[in-house]
């Protein structure tokens, strides 16, 4: 299958700093790809480059196989939903949604039903005559989505689609969005700094770092096997230590950890995901002391220090509320081989 969007060695420089540094990315039709990365990793620049709002210093953007160099934004047939929505303040909700169809010369008698249909779709039926300034953040987001969908773009791009919303609304909308895109068969390229959002929304996750792609894969693959320490830390995994792999185990400051078969021998960085840190009686396994515990509602996150080895990196563990030890308690730690990952250096 040919890619709907193909980005080849895209490079954008601001001064001597490259916001995009030779990025290659394909997006297949009907696929939802989420670009994940911290501030300044170049993910929004990527969207702007595809939209034609940011000229490339090198590389190419192809849509349906056609090079887009020289094609102005309004002729690319892609949609972009801005992070802060950028609704037109002087138009009402209907006027905003109808803007794209109007630009594409859709006759009025088809336009009006289309606007109503889209407002239904995003859960704002009958809101066409409301002023945009009377909308809440979540409603603005829905109008922005309806507006972006209205001209039926071949590729819909979302810049931090749920960035400004509060948590509960975000969690609900992310599910709605996924269902909606699945139903419409929309091809989506979204960027976010929120891993939860990316994992919930995407068929494929692309992690960016400093203008380059650090890892690409299904949410599950990226979660299970972060390619590098950067990706691991960005996903929130901080239990990482130096180790030396030899004969099926890695020797670390936490002792010997089992590693998957076939791991290359030699020095490595070793990650243990929190579910892999198993707590037991103080006299079994690695002796540790509970340094901090954080209530997470139903579960408790623990930070453990290795007793007698102050320099060893802290371990992060999880526990049910009922079984959670108190701060200062001594526990013994064993490791689940399935949660140990040897990272590329």
């Amino acid at each position: 299958m040919t890619a709907l969007l193909r980005i080849e060695a895209a490079t954008v420089r601001f001064g001597d700093r490259a916001a995009l540094d030779g990025v290659d990315l394909d997006v297949t039709a009907h696929e939802t790809v989420c670009v994940l990365g911290p501030s300044g990793s170049g993910k929004s620049t990527l969207l702007r480059a595809v939209a034609g709002l940011q000229p490339l210093d090198a590389g190419r953007v192809l849509l349906d196989g056609a090079d887009q160099a020289g094609t102005p934004p309004h002729r690319r047939g892609v949609g972009l939903m801005f992070q802060d929505h950028q609704l037109f303040p002087q138009r009402d909700v209907g006027g905003n949604v109808a803007f794209g169809p109007r630009m594409h010369k859709m006759p009025r008698e088809r336009r009006d039903p289309r606007v109503a249909e889209l407002l239904d779709l995003v859960g704002l039926p009958g809101a066409a005559h409301r002023a945009v300034s009377t909308l809440s953040g979540g409603e603005q987001q829905r109008v922005a989505l309806a507006r972006a969908l209205a001209p039926e773009p071949r590729l819909l791009m979302l810049d931090e689609p749920l960035g400004q919303l509060d948590r509960s609304l975000r969690e609900r909308l992310v599910v709605e969005l996924r269902q909606l895109f699945g139903r419409l068969g929309t091809t989506v390229l979204a960027v976010t700094h929120d891993q939860g959002e990316a994992f919930a929304l995407a068929d494929r996750v692309v992690v960016m770092r400093g203008g380059t792609i650090a890892q690409s894969g299904t949410p599950l693959a990226v979660w299970q096997h972060p390619a590098s320490e950067f990706v691991a830390r960005f996903l929130g995994f901080d239990t990482i230590a130096d180790g030396v792999v030899s004969g099926g185990v890695a020797v670390t400051a936490w002792g010997k950890l089992p590693v998957p078969d076939g791991t290359p021998e030699g020095p490595a960085r070793v990650l243990v995901r929190p579910p892999g840190v198993l707590l037991g009686p103080a006299d079994e396994g690695l002796p540790c002391e509970v340094r901090a515990r954080t209530f997470r509602g139903g579960r408790v996150a623990l930070v453990l220090g290795v007793t007698g080895a102050e320099r060893a990196p802290a371990l992060e563990a999880e526990s049910t509320l009922r079984d959670a030890p108190a701060e200062g308690d001594r526990v013994g730690v064993t490791f689940d081989p399935g949660e140990v990952v040897v990272l590329d250096r």
């Binding site: 001064g15 501030s39 210093d57 309004h74 690319r76 992070q83 037109f88 630009m103 972006a148």
Partner: protein
Amino acid sequence: MDVDRPVVPAGPEGPEGPEGRDGSDGSAPAPASVRGRGGRGRATGVRLALMALPLAFFAVFFAYPVGAIVARGLHQGGRWRFGAVGDVLGDPSIRHVLWFTCWQAAASTALTLAVGLPGAYVFARLEFPGKRLLRAVVTVPFVLPTVVAGSAFLALLGRGGFTDSLLGFRLDTSVWAILVAHVFFNYAVVVRTVGGLWAQLDPRQEEAARMLGAGRLAAWRRVTLPALAPSVAAAALMVFLFTFTSFGVIQILGGPTRSTLEVEIYRQTAELLDLPTAAVLTLLQFVAVAVILGVHAWTVRRRESALRLVDAARTAHRPRGGERALLAGVLAVVALLILLPLGVLVARSFDGPNGYGLAFYRALASTDGSGDGGTFLVSPLETVWNSLRYAAVATVIALAVGALAAAALARRAGRVMRGFDALLMLPLGTSAVTVGFGFLITLDKPPLDLRDSWLLVPLAQALVGVPFVVRVMLPVLRAVDARLREAAAVLGASPLRAWREVELPMVARAVGIAAGFAFAVSLGEFGATVFIARPDSPTLPVAVARLLGRAGEMNYGQAMALSTILMVVCAASLLILETAWQRRPDGRRTTVPTGEF
């Protein structure tokens, strides 16, 4: 499109900025040197195209006439006589003029700031009934013809005037009359320029300082004042510029001994026909004005530095405690300084020979000049129609030229563009007399033979209107988020369509205000018009000046009546055009800022 975004220096967070706060991720800065391929050349082309008409306009109708008249003064007998510069500057009476010009401008500026700054606070931060109307009223003097203001103060402070008959003192022979009239004129400059920013300063900045242990005064001095300082400086420089080049007020209130450069240029040109001296003085004023404008451009640039601005509607509150006294004081000043002179002018216009009535207004309709001063070619009342026609055409020209210039300036500026910006302001400070006389000697031969064309007057008036159009439009154009245009583009709108659909509706109100200013300023233009208006179709201010120049109560009363008409027309045009766009179709007020000077 990529070049329209403001250049933000890359901070520690990198050019993408903090995400989630303002979405600046997308509007990453593109320093001029490294903008992407293609975009840069195209944008420069657009900018040049936008600048072409304003530049041509200024070259033909400003640089050429002014240059020609200066050349005529200094190029005599086949060679240049720059020695005239030394001769003129050595003349003690000219040195006296220079000294008076400078010190009265400095004194007027200081006085205007002292009176205007409390007003700026009150209009910016306090909520009181009638505020919007009053804000419009204090703007009226600024667009009033100087001739009218001069007459108003003559009626207030002069012989047989309000204070003379009521309190037994006259000020028309003292310099105070000039200073007070200058404050009257420029009060609005301070209130609008400083107050406009003050209203949008985030009060939480001051609150943050308070929470960190600063007292009320210390917080104001250390947080608010530094933020305001550039706008105070800009306002002060504008007031200095206007008073430095003051003409009508000095003509009427200055008497024989007090003369500014501008008045002296008029005297040398029109009365003594001493073109070399006039040329030197014109150059001198040119240099002084260029310096003032240079400093002004610099402060404006500083004013645009990053300030936390919020919607003005959120910062105003009802007066509490000592603020009530402040409000009362400011209202008293407005009443005494602005309403009283205007009121006295109106009252005098009705105070006819046979008691209060419309005698002077009736006399305006006849051409016999009321016996003691010869006759007019046209009745004074007809000049109202002349003025309206001229001003309407001048407004159209000023809007076209000014809007194009503002659009070019809003699209990112370098040093060249700042020079362009200052160039547009120059006519404000250049002797109108020079411009008028320059028109006469340059635009009288093919291919530009406008000698007998009525177009000459609106062209000269538009020259003064353009700076106002640019000043009003520029901040608004700059405030339109470039990403709104981008949003329109990705929805399929071509650049032209995006401008029409998105940008134009947002700046419509500013266009209205700019038109109001241009119209009012054109109506009141006197210095240039007096030279080039044909005797059979004088404008209203010219007729007022002619009436004032004649003896007799009837002429004086007619001058007051005509001035009243001019004042009402000016104020009404400003108010109508300013309020016509005040409300959006949905009934809520726009938050797009209106421009200040």
